[in-house]
């Protein structure tokens, strides 16, 4: 087993561990930053696999994105510090099954998919940047542009729904939604 594989496994395990931490903590900020470090570990995996641009990009983007997610969670959740024993786990049975099915699917795909022949040699980092540039402004342009636009729309829609006038008054008059692990 080469050093590369050992590092890849180590960062992979780190990514999984931080992913678990997301749900083990009660604090919204800790949860968001745990997700950040999980994603950073995936960026490090890219670096180990000698895809320098993708790795650095992943490590850069996630820092900002997860921090912004953290402030949204603090703004909209009722117990951001986790002092009232806020629980991150909801709909346990459904999410457990969904997680198992997704894990099985991903593992099956990894083993049974036809990945084609391995590239004989990996282009150097500068060449990768050039190739990615052509890819992004070529045949992948439409996919990336629509993905970006979709995410932006979803963000605006989610925020608009969260701050919709009347939502608060409605929540105060009606029964609180019955999340598991919420006092009761």
């Amino acid at each position: 087993m080469s050093v590369q594989v050992i590092f890849l496994a180590a960062f992979g395990l780190a990514a999984v561990w931080f992913g678990i931490v997301v749900f083990r903590t009660h604090s919204m900020v800790r949860s968001a930053l745990a997700l950040l470090f999980s994603q950073t570990a995936i960026g490090a995996m890219f670096l180990v696999m000698e895809t320098e641009f993708l790795g650095v990009l992943q490590i850069m983007m996630m820092a900002t994105e997860m921090s912004i997610m953290a402030i949204f969670m603090v703004m909209f959740m009722m117990d951001p510090g986790g002092l009232g024993a806020m629980d991150m786990k909801h709909q346990r049975r459904l999410s457990l099954w969904a997680g198992l099915v997704a894990f099985g699917g991903a593992t099956g795909l990894a083993f049974f998919a036809n990945w084609g022949p391995l590239p004989a040699e990996i282009p150097d980092a500068a060449e990768q940047v050039r190739l990615l540039g052509f890819e992004l402004l070529g045949r992948s342009m439409l996919i990336f542009e629509s993905a970006g636009l979709t995410i932006l729309t979803a963000m605006i829609a989610a925020t608009a729904m969260a701050v919709l006038p009347g939502r608060k008054a409605e929540a105060q008059t009606s029964e609180p939604p019955g999340h598991e692990g919420h006092g009761a």
């Binding site: 604090s27 900020v29 800790r30 930053l33 950040l36 320098e52 641009f53 650095v56 990009l57 490590i59 850069m60 820092a63 900002t64 921090s67 912004i68 953290a70 402030i71 603090v74 510090g81 150097d124 980092a125 500068a126 990768q128 940047v129």
Partner: protein, 299 residues
């Protein structure tokens, strides 16, 4: 041998910047001031606030220092005096410094204090303002160099430095860089006037020392990047390359530390409005202009 020279350059750079910062804030040039301040911080007790998020409280200042140090790894003082010449150097600089935000959020959230927390989240708002104005001017610089490698970027300026080739980009980058290093007038996260020190408020003793050291390395890093991207790095007549790099970095740092104090502290909303309504259109215009220049008058 290179490692020793680089460490020496880092130590001297941080020390000179500390002297400069003292001069900028007190108007007195005292070479002993940084040493005395460091000793005083080392000698005072490092208090732990009540009910902290201890992991974040301890990690914040250290992460700030590490992020700033990492970003210096791609700065060439001469073609040989560089930690690592990455093919994605200019992007790596941004990647490392985006963890400054994470560090400040951790340091602000950690001590369980209102001033610190507001300071930390303020920096997030500040990032929304300055982030594009760091990346877009660098895009124009990379367009001219046709590379993200910092050495290639310096070599692309042999005919004409980028400060003359794309002055608009330089102005935007320097302003955004000052906001990134939260020096006045962009010192919202640690504002002493209205937040009692903000993120710094709950830090004392050695933890505060690490925080301030991290901030100084951050200023050094932004000044070095401005030198590499716009002032031709080590290029210059008579003096050896490393001396040119040093002189230029110190000059940019002096402008950052002293020049900013001539302006009143901006407000969070004002900064966002200025950056998005004026800064980003100008940065886009800069990219267009440089694109035309690169194609029409290659220098």
């Amino acid at each position: 041998m290179t490692a020793i020279w680089l460490l020496l350059a880092l130590a001297v750079g941080v020390y000179l910047l500390a002297v400069l910062e003292h001069w900028a804030s007190t108007n007195r040039l005292r070479p002993t001031a940084p040493i005395l301040a460091a000793l005083s911080l080392l000698g005072s007790e490092s208090l732990l606030p009540r009910k902290p998020d201890q992991l974040f409280f301890e990690t914040g200042p250290v992460l700030l220092l590490i992020a700033a140090l990492l970003s210096l790894a791609i700065i060439p003082l001469t073609p040989d005096l560089i930690v690592t010449d990455l093919a994605t150097g200019a992007l790596f600089f941004n990647a490392a410094l985006s963890y400054v935000l994470v560090a400040l959020i951790m340091a602000g959230w950690g001590p369980d204090g209102a001033y610190g927390m507001i300071g930390g989240w303020r920096f997030l708002g500040q990032l929304i303002a300055y982030a594009m104005l760091v990346v877009m001017p660098i895009t124009a610089v990379a367009m001219r160099a046709e590379s993200l490698s910092t050495i290639e970027i310096v070599l692309s300026q042999e005919g004409l430095w980028n400060i003359a080739y794309q002055p608009l980009g330089f102005a935007l980058f320097l302003g955004a860089g000052m906001a990134m290093a939260f020096v006045p007038p962009f010192d919202l996260p640690i504002a002493s006037g209205d937040l009692a020190g903000g993120v710094q408020a709950e830090y004392t003793g050695v933890r505060r020392l690490v925080f301030r050291l991290g901030r100084l390395v951050l200023v050094l890093s932004v000044a070095s990047a401005a030198t590499v991207f716009y002032l031709g790095g080590w290029l210059g007549p008579w003096l050896p390359g490393w001396a040119w790099s040093g002189v230029k970095i110190l000059a940019v740092a002096a402008v950052m530390l002293a020049g900013g104090r001539l302006f009143p502290r901006v407000s969070e909303g004002g900064l966002l409005a200025w950056c998005w309504k004026l800064g980003i259109p100008l940065a886009l215009a800069n990219i267009l202009l440089v694109g035309i220049l690169v194609l029409v008058v290659p220098l």
